[in-house]
């Protein structure tokens, strides 16, 4: 069974009285479990809207989103919340860590919403921080972490519930080349190890180059959908001057 299936998916925003913006305009797409794909396209092509629709953060104007075979059409807010909680992990461009919580507490948060028992929560949070090599920073607040470290915390948070799908919206948008490479490296490793689906929205060709499938959007529609051999990662290489 495909992990994500989109059928004639559309999201239309009313703008003014007569104008309407077709942010997502009839997309059909199928993503298998364990895929590592990039969604690219110019600004305003509907990348983020598409990601929000897949992640059940937003509801489509028409069409269907199937997550692990479940049609999310017509689900109420409570049921959509449950899908987000159980099936989806989010990673954002600006990390979106809670400033009052340290790395460990940020990572553990989704498990609290899942009502996982206390000791189990802590064990899994340690594990998740281990996966992103941040065990030594677990007591640090976001303000004490570098951008790359913050994004790794966010990835650990996205993975802790063991979701079938990780959605990343410009995860490297605020990072330099070296950190971008490391974040992609972490995600690819986790994708290999845990076989979770990763869908990464990006406008960075380097990031897209590291994925196995590139879906290009233009004006809310799929312009191209290509599989590729991902580029090799050499993160410690200093960029040549």
């Amino acid at each position: 069974m495909a992990n994500v299936v989109l059928e004639n998916l559309a999201k239309i925003y009313a703008e003014g009285d007569t104008e309407e913006v077709r942010a997502v305009n009839g997309i059909n797409l199928s993503v298998e479990k364990g895929e590592f794909l990039a969604i690219v396209g110019p600004s305003g092509s509907g990348k983020s809207t598409l990601l929000n629709l897949i992640g059940c953060l937003d509801v489509p104007t028409s069409g269907h989103v199937f997550i692990d075979g479940v049609d999310t059409q017509g689900l109420n807010e409570k049921e959509l919340t449950r899908i987000r909680r159980e099936k989806v992990g989010f990673v954002f461009q600006d990390f979106n860590l809670l400033p009052v919580l340290n790395a460990f507490e940020n990572v553990i948060l989704p498990l609290r919403y899942l009502k996982v028992a206390g000791h189990e929560r802590e064990r899994r949070a340690k594990e998740a921080l281990d996966l992103v090599s941040l065990s030594n920073r677990s007591k640090s607040r976001p303000s004490q972490l570098s951008g790359g470290e913050r994004q790794r915390v966010a990835i650990a948070r996205a993975l802790i519930t063991n979701p079938s799908l990780v959605l990343a919206d410009e995860p490297t948008g605020e990072l330099d080349t070296v950190n971008t490479c490391r974040i992609i490296e972490v995600m690819r490793e986790l994708n290999d190890k845990l076989n979770q689906t990763f869908a990464i929205v990006t406008h960075d060709p380097m990031v897209a180059g590291y994925t196995r499938r590139i879906v290009t959007l233009r004006d809310g529609s799929v312009e191209s959908d290509l599989s590729q051999q991902p580029a090799d990662l050499h993160c410690d290489d200093k960029p040549s001057i």
Binding site: N52, G55, L57, D58, E77, K78, T81, R82, R84, R85, E86, G89, F90, F92, N96, L98, P99, V100, L101, E105, L109, P110, Y113, L114, R157, A158, T161
Partner: protein, 386 residues
Amino acid sequence: MLKVILRNMWRRKARTFLTVFGIVVGIFALTVLGGLSARLTQQVKGAKSWFTNSISIVPTGGSLFGGGENQFFTLSKVQEVQNVPGVKEAIAGIGLLVKSSQTFSFGAPDLIIGLDLSRSQDLLKQLHVDKGRGLTSGDRGKVLLGSTLANKLGAQVGGTVDLRGRQFEVVGILQPTLAAPDTFAFVSYKDALELFFKANPFITRGQPITSVIYATWDKGANPEVVSNRISKQVSGVRVISPKEAEKQISQFSLIFNAILFGIAFIALVVGGLSIINTMVMSVSERTKEIGLKRAIGADTRTILGEYLLESSVIGLLGGLIGMGVGLLAILLLNDATKSNNVTVFAISWLVVVGPVIFATVLGTLAGIFPALRASRLRPVESLRED
């Protein structure tokens, strides 16, 4: 959970402090007034138990505490009252202020009450003597003192006290009741009459007078019915039945409690609005965080609960501090007035716990609107916020 809420509050130290301070002021006022009200309730209860033991008959226009020094009637009225069916004993009495210059007092004034001792044993039996003995028929120059007054005058059983320039031997001191009889000095009618004439030299002596008549009733008689009969049969008097005395005394505390509720209401409005304001600001500041929490699986109820808890904590904090400061003020003020033998405040469980519960409930209620707002935010839109 609580840790997170406290950290969130700490993020905006100044604003949190100001909001909590707003509650503190209101709750402080509430606590202090609560203490005042508790003390008043004690006094009212005591006063009721004393003043409802008998029917008080005063000259028209007189009050519960006797006719005052310018209003009195002749002794023949005592016989008239005595003749009313149902009246067991009509007792001639004279009420005089201990200090002629006393103009204001908290609760009952210090009073010299002269009673016809041969007839008032029933009435005096209601008083509980702590030290010494009660007054007996034929006592002259003797005084039975209420506990507060005894303290104030530094009186000892067997010693003497000066009342309006005359020396009285202290035969007994009453148990403290925290109320009316505590500030009374009971003497014989004749002694009081002499003091009365001395204080009012223009009144022709020889004509025995009385400023108040206390009437007790026959066993089984309804004091209200008896009171009614007295006012019908005896002219030129105002009859204060036990029920009416109770009403008058209650009225006093009712007015006070109305003021108390007024203050509580102001505290409610001011404190509540300031919490609402703070919470609305918190919600809009943290819109993005709310969106994030929703994205990673928090449902609307979780968000609602978090914000409600936060505003309850603000209320609780303000309540605890306000009550603490109020309690401290009560203790200090009571200590300061101790030397004057006046107790202005009483502390009860209600005074301590009431304001804290009030503030917490207020905080919770004030949080409802902002919390609902937070929980109804759409995840996508909140995440887009900066």
